[in-house]
């Protein structure tokens, strides 16, 4: 073993020791970043390091290695001499998630500013906060559906309510896990309501139904049972409904823009009140659409 790998082993050994001595569920440790098995050296000549989370449930004898970015970045740890260190500390083995799982992917540069993505240390810390507070134990085989992972992730295949990784949306990884949970709850509601509105608004019966009914009535002009006044009444009623529908369609477009605008500055708990107000407006839009359908 070359000395630099010894330093990596030493850091992991110290972290494992901390788990034993403190009884903590979580500890964060640096590993050396690799690219196809080779250590990554930056243009500056420094080795690149990567922070991962070690998780130990008191009821389970294994230690889990949880990668904040991509599970494959730390697979090699579970297939290395680290297993000997783990056993020496009295644990059964170290286990990684065995499929590719990308909890958080920075789409652009990382940093502390509101418009920047978070780095691996940051995400590891926030996962640790969440796991420490959560009453639900981590099952490594079902890591992708753990509520803490779902709330923090910026991967829309993990958090189905997430609008897609096009903005940092730092509120999802706030230091206050309570705020993370609240943000997740309101995002779930907003996402559900946006889906309902889009489904109703695009429903063929609404878009075309107004015209069809007026057209059918027009064909019956010769039918004496449909006096002209009655036909005019239907036409006016449907025109009115159509106008309201078109207004709501416009509002839906504006709501989508507003949703993106709120997400773009969602870097702290303050955005939750914005989302709550936004959610109320969506509720109003849904009620209006049902009124149109009933008219």
């Amino acid at each position: 073993m070359v000395p630099h790998l010894y330093e990596e082993m030493r850091a992991i050994d110290t972290a494992l020791e901390h788990l034993v001595a403190s009884g903590s569920k979580t500890v964060i440790v640096d590993i050396l970043a690799r690219d196809k098995g080779t250590l990554k050296i930056l243009p500056s000549g420094k080795y690149e390091s990567h922070s991962v989370l070690l998780y130990k449930d008191p009821a389970v004898s294994d230690v889990y290695i949880i990668d904040p970015n991509n599970s494959k970045y730390s697979w090699h740890i579970a297939n290395s001499e680290v297993q000997l260190l783990v056993r020496a500390k009295g644990f059964a083995r170290i286990v990684a998630y065995d499929k590719i799982l990308q909890i958080y992917t920075p789409a652009e540069d990382t940093g502390p500013a509101p418009g920047q993505y978070r780095d691996c240390i940051d995400i590891s810390v926030k996962l640790a906060f969440g796991f420490n507070l959560s009453s639900k134990s981590v099952d490594i085989g079902n890591l992708a559906i753990h509520p803490v992972v779902v709330a923090i992730s910026n991967n829309e295949t993990i958090d189905m309510a997430y609008a897609g990784n096009v903005l940092p949306v730092r509120a999802k990884q706030s230091s206050h896990f309570g705020a993370v949970s609240a943000f997740k709850a309101i995002e779930d509601l907003v996402s559900k309501k946006m889906t309902i509105i889009e489904k109703i608004a695009s429903h063929a019966d609404i878009r075309i139904g107004f015209y069809d009914e007026v057209l059918d009535a027009s064909k019956d002009l010769t039918n004496t049972s449909h006096p002209l006044a009655s036909l005019e009444s239907i036409k006016l009623s449907k025109n009115s409904a159509l106008a309201r529908y078109q207004t709501i369609s416009g509002e839906l477009g504006a709501a989508k823009v507003e949703h993106t605008a709120i997400l773009s500055v969602a870097d702290d708990a303050g955005c939750i009140s914005q989302f709550e107000a936004f959610d109320l407006r969506l509720t109003g839009m849904i009620e209006s659409l049902f009124d149109v359908m009933d008219s």
Partner: protein, 102 residues
């Protein structure tokens, strides 16, 4: 050198070289509102403690000081001696870029 601090402002006053190091690692107060930091920069393994201000929850990170990791010699000559890649570790502001995190 060992320091234990609570809050970046204190670090800046007490240990400017360590403050530079924290800044270089892109961790700032608006990312973590409270931090205890323990470091022996002559030790390749150092520790940082992050705390959630809304709770008493905290988490410790054990890092690797990549500055003191020996450089592998080019040309297959094996591993060079354990020479720092940027001078004496932990002794000056020149160390501020020693930590690069992804």
């Amino acid at each position: 050198m060992k320091v234990k601090i609570a809050g970046v402002d204190v670090v800046e006053a007490a240990a400017p070289d360590i403050y530079d190091e924290i800044r270089a690692s892109s961790i700032t107060p608006n990312t973590f509102e409270f931090r205890e930091y323990e470091a022996d920069l002559n030790d390749p393994v150092y520790t940082e403690r992050y705390r959630d201000p809304s709770t008493t929850a905290s988490v410790i990170r054990f890092g690797i000081n990549t500055d003191v990791i020996p450089v592998v010699a080019v040309g297959g000559a094996g591993v060079s001696s354990a020479v720092s890649t940027s001078g004496k570790s932990g002794s000056s502001k020149s160390d501020k870029s020693d930590f690069v995190f992804t």
